[in-house]
C-alpha cells in the first residue's frame, strides 16, 4: 500500500453513498448512506466499504482455527470458551479419541486447553467446534498469551509471513488462534523473545512497514537463523 494513512472511523460515521458502493462488514445502510457500526479502520475493497474492528470480542467465522479452554465436561461433549460471546460446543464425535457416552471427563476436563476449528454456527450464534483436522491437539505445556482478536491478522502476516519470520529467527513452535489466543512452545528464553515480538506487533498493528521493522528487531539479537 502507498503512503496513505489508515483511516480510523467511529460508529455512526457516514462512509459513502449506497448507490456507488456496497455495504460490507461492520457497516449498515440507512437513508441511502453507508454508515459505520463500530470503531475501526476503513477499508474500501473494489465496491465494498468495510470497517475492520480495532477492538472488540472475537466474532467467529466457520473454518477459523482457535484455542479454547474447556469450561465444562457434559455427557456427550464439552463446553469450550473460545473468547466469543458464548461458549462453543465440542461434541464427543469431534475429537481424535474414541469417547464413550458419559466418559467425556476422562479425556478433557475443566481448565484444559485445546486447539480447534470452528465447525458451524447457527442463526442463534450457537457454535460447534471440532478437533478433527490437521494438527489439532490438546495443549500440553508451552505458554498461551492473549492479544486483541482484531490484531491477529497482523500477527500472522500476509500468507503467514510474520509467523514464518519469527520462526526463522527464534527456535519455537507457535499456533495462532483467530480468537486472539496464541500458544508458544520452546525454551524459556525463546518464549520470552517471542512474547516481546508479539507485543510489539500488537501495539504497532495499524502502522505501515511493520514486517520490515520486526525483521530488523529479530535480526539484531538473533543467535542463528533457521531456514
Amino acid at each position: 500500500m502507498p503512503n496513505e494513512k489508515r483511516k480510523i472511523v467511529f460508529p455512526s460515521q457516514i462512509l459513502g453513498d449506497a448507490k456507488s458502493h456496497k455495504a460490507g462488514r461492520g457497516t449498515f445502510i440507512e437513508e441511502g448512506k453507508i454508515i459505520s457500526q463500530r470503531l475501526g479502520i476503513l477499508n474500501v475493497n473494489s465496491d465494498y466499504i468495510n470497517v475492520m474492528p480495532l477492538k472488540g470480542r472475537y466474532d467467529p467465522i466457520v473454518g477459523d482455527f482457535v484455542i479454547g479452554v474447556v469450561e465444562e465436561a457434559l455427557s456427550s461433549g464439552w463446553l469450550v470458551d473460545i473468547n466469543a460471546p458464548s461458549p462453543a460446543f465440542l461434541h464427543g464425535e469431534e475429537v481424535p479419541w474414541d469417547v464413550e457416552f458419559g466418559d467425556a471427563e476422562k479425556y478433557l476436563n475443566r481448565g484444559d486447553s485445546v486447539m480447534a476449528k470452528v465447525l458451524q454456527i447457527n442463526e442463534l450464534k450457537k457454535m460447534q467446534i471440532t478437533m478433527k483436522d490437521r494438527n489439532l491437539y490438546k495443549i500440553n505445556g508451552g505458554h498461551i498469551i492473549e492479544v486483541e482478536p482484531s490484531r491477529v491478522p497482523r500477527i500472522i502476516g500476509k500468507k503467514g509471513s510474520m509467523i514464518a519470520l519469527i520462526k526463522k529467527y527464534i527456535r519455537c513452535r507457535i499456533f495462532v488462534g483467530q480468537n486472539g489466543k496464541i500458544w508458544v512452545d520452546g525454551d524459556t528464553e525463546s518464549i520470552e523473545r517471542v512474547l516481546q515480538v508479539i507485543h510489539k506487533i500488537e501495539s504497532e498493528a495499524i502502522t505501515f512497514g511493520l514486517t520490515n521493522r520486526i525483521e530488523e528487531l529479530l535480526k539484531k539479537d538473533a543467535r542463528n537463523v533457521h531456514l
Binding site: I35, G56, R57, S150
Partner: protein, 242 residues
C-alpha cells in the same frame, strides 16, 4: 424551594458566569481502564464520572438471557464521597431508576441482535456530583461502548436544559438545579436526533418545554462533537505514518 439567591444577574449571566445557552466545560478521556473491554472518564463541570463496559459476554443468570438479542445492563452508582453529605452506599430508588432508563436508552442504539444470549454490562460510577450526573453518565457510557468495539447505530449523547427564574437555560449547574423551577434531561441519537431518554422534573409550559427541548438537542449535538473528537484522538495517536 424559595431562596433569595439570584441565579441570573441583570446582565443575563448565570452564577458561574455562563450565558443561557452555554455548556459547562467537558473533558473526555477514552480507554482509561485495562481490565474492561472499553472505558471512559468524563469531567463535565464539577461532575466526574468513570464508565467501564464489559462484554458482550454470556448473560448470567441464564434465565435473564434473550434468545434473540443481547441484554444491556447499565448500573449507575454514586460513590459515598460524591456529594457533600456522605451518600449511603448501595443501590437506592433513585439510582435504580437511572440505571433502568440508561439501560433502555443504550439498548436502542446498540445492535443487540448480533449477540444472542449475551449481556453487555455498563458500569457507571459517579465520583463527584454537581447536577446532571445522569447526562454525564450516559454520555460517558456512549464513548465507553464505542471504545469497547460494540456495534451500534450511533453514539448516544445526553444533555439537560431547564428553567431558572422563569428563563429557559442550557445545562443546569448545582444551585440552578436545586433552586430552579424545572430540569429536563434528554438523551438523543445525534445522527438522527431521535430521543432516547426524556425526563422532566418541575413545571414547564408547552412553549417553554419546546424551547428547552430545542436547547437540550443543540447541547447534545455540541457534546457529541467532543465525544467523537476524544475517540479519534485516542486512536489516531497510535498511528505512525511512514
Amino acid at each position: 424551594m424559595k431562596s433569595d439567591k439570584k441565579l441570573i444577574d441583570d446582565a443575563g449571566k448565570r452564577l458561574d458566569g455562563r450565558g443561557p445557552e452555554e455548556l459547562r466545560k467537558i473533558k473526555i478521556e477514552v480507554g482509561v481502564l485495562h481490565r474492561a473491554s472499553g472505558s471512559c472518564y468524563l469531567e463535565w463541570g464539577g461532575n466526574k464520572v468513570m464508565v467501564a463496559v464489559y462484554g458482550p459476554r454470556e448473560a448470567i443468570p441464564r434465565h435473564t438471557q434473550n434468545l434473540l438479542r443481547a441484554i444491556v445492563n447499565a448500573r449507575y452508582n454514586m460513590a459515598a464521597f460524591s456529594v457533600e453529605d456522605r451518600k449511603r452506599p448501595g443501590p437506592d430508588r433513585r439510582s435504580k431508576e437511572i440505571s433502568k432508563v440508561i439501560s433502555e436508552a443504550l439498548e436502542k442504539v446498540i445492535l443487540t441482535e448480533q449477540f444472542p444470549r449475551a449481556s453487555i454490562d455498563v458500569n457507571i460510577e459517579v465520583l463527584d456530583a454537581e447536577a446532571g450526573t445522569r447526562c454525564a453518565g450516559l454520555t460517558a457510557a456512549g464513548v465507553a461502548l464505542a471504545d469497547a468495539g460494540i456495534p451500534m447505530k450511533d453514539i448516544p449523547v445526553a444533555c439537560s436544559a431547564g428553567k431558572i427564574e422563569g428563563r429557559v437555560v442550557l445545562d443546569l449547574g448545582k444551585e440552578e438545579d436545586n433552586l430552579g423551577d424545572a430540569d429536563l434531561p434528554i438523551a438523543i441519537s445525534p445522527r438522527t436526533n431521535e430521543i432516547l431518554l426524556l425526563q422532566m422534573d418541575g413545571h414547564l409550559t408547552l412553549e417553554e418545554f419546546n424551547k428547552a427541548l430545542d436547547f437540550a438537542i443543540k447541547g447534545c449535538n455540541a457534546v457529541s462533537e467532543i465525544q467523537k473528537k476524544a475517540i479519534l484522538d485516542k486512536y489516531q495517536s497510535v498511528e505512525v505514518v511512514e
